[in-house]
Assembly symmetry: C2
Amino acid sequence: VDPAKGARIGGMIAMGCSGTNAYRYGTIKAHVLSLTLVLADGTVVKTRNRPRKSSAGYDLTNLIVGSEGTLALVTEAILKITPLPKNPQVGLAVFASMDDGVAVAIAIMKSGMQLEALELVDGDCMQCINHSKLASDVFEERPTLFLKFAGSAQGVKEQVSFVQGLCEERGVTSCEFTGDKHRMDAIWDARKCLGNALATMKKHDSDLVITTDAAVPVSKLARLVEGSREIVKEQAGEQGWWSGSVGHVGDGNVHTAIVCPQSAKAEVEQLLAKIQRLALELEGTITGEHGIGLKLRDLLNEEVGTEGVDAMRKIKFALDPKGILNPDKVVRLEAGV
Amino acid sequence: VDPAKGARIGGMIAMGCSGTNAYRYGTIKAHVLSLTLVLADGTVVKTRNRPRKSSAGYDLTNLIVGSEGTLALVTEAILKITPLPKNPQVGLAVFASMDDGVAVAIAIMKSGMQLEALELVDGDCMQCINHSKLASDVFEERPTLFLKFAGSAQGVKEQVSFVQGLCEERGVTSCEFTGDKHRMDAIWDARKCLGNALATMKKHDSDLVITTDAAVPVSKLARLVEGSREIVKEQAGEQGWWSGSVGHVGDGNVHTAIVCPQSAKAEVEQLLAKIQRLALELEGTITGEHGIGLKLRDLLNEEVGTEGVDAMRKIKFALDPKGILNPDKVVRLEAGV
């Protein structure tokens, strides 16, 4: 699934995690075949056996994945593995604007061509990567598409040539495709270090890094990227806060990050709530892969309605009648509080 | 998803359906983005918006898909669509034994090469297709792999050549790959007519067609195919019942069918239960895509344990406390009955 560095299997299952491989291989949900659970009353349940597919009763596995520890303890997981991709290549395409990067990403998806990964990093985040010195090379500080290809030898060549054509149509300012192991690692490590690089934008140790996790249908991706930027840039710019965004664009999932003083926490959270509401307007979600926890419970009501949250609460109490498992996370134990 | 002819969206969602496209594109679960539900108390719930991925609360969507109408009425579904495959080709490979067909299917999967479809039909079912006259052509009555390819032009050529090589290694007796629309349709229609063709093997109108739906991990597929054949052939052969099997081998899912007089119903169901238990021994499921209904409730206890069924029952009563929605299907309303 390839989430940010430091993720562990247990947490990935608890949060319904994803990452740069999810666009091609699905989120952790697509990889969990079966779970062993301890329910609140101590009962041990194995959710299913390990065939690729099953219609045997209710889907307990997918109910538990992403339930953030509120429905059961997971003590064992059977994961599906995938053969290693053949003939890998990595691409790096730099654009004058985020719009161009989004347009290329959407054209790739509409073509039906299945790449291995499709990530879009804005100029601010590229600058952050350079500033952090966590990457092994220095990159242009402009909107950049990171791409991965794999498949049969000729198939990969055709994919690369097709994508290169799309990039050129959108006036790509520089473009590189490589199958060299060393260079592929250098490019991909730059994308992967971003999670840790954000912290290096703090002016003071006590500064906060606050991030959104909105995801929208791919047809609305351009509006999410543009809208998030408008919402953040105005206020963050005035206040001198650093901000940037990075998208798992193949999944319509965009993280906008702000680095700000602790005193600005409430203000920044309000700002980010505007982005989450924009995602809802665009028929999207407030959280593509990070989960609800405590902070997003009110917005969850806006996303699935109080009726949806009530249904979730009924399931919570069915499996955990005393509310002892990670209580009050995801859904509040009491309705209307 | 491409299930047997006659399936409708509502039924496909209720049963967690799949078909010949599931190996490449996933079961109906991978295609349902969101559902509108009417719960037992009349509450209307929309399970989620329509981004590709979400971590927003419990996964109500996947809980309802495959719940066979027992948890909620589905009144609306938002489905994900997929660009049409490019450069399609269809392959037909005839083998001396089912073992050879299974070996080729497994070698394809282990290679990581992603075909569009991978179906294995035994000699008896090929004979049934010819006998039914439902196909537009006549085919060899031996174990046959039906394959579909798509992708970039050169990529498809490489796939076909790779698969042809694997088939030859296993001594394929005849082998055809075609991109001709007319011939592709003729071959694929032969596979698709099988569901209806089975009924033409009845000797009397009152005869029954009874089918299993076992699915196992792909590594155990050969043992399921071989074991099912042993279980059925001995007894069916003695009794003069027709039997045959067809596998969505890319998903490890095999249907074994028997056509028998009504008087033999109980006996045949016992026979098929042996195959279902074999699937459980092989860490598989009693039902890959047809669901539990009334008949498989006892075996569901063997698959997920009474603890698993109890957990499902708790969820049933959480959402339908009076047990009014398709009562006693999937799980009995009363435990231990």
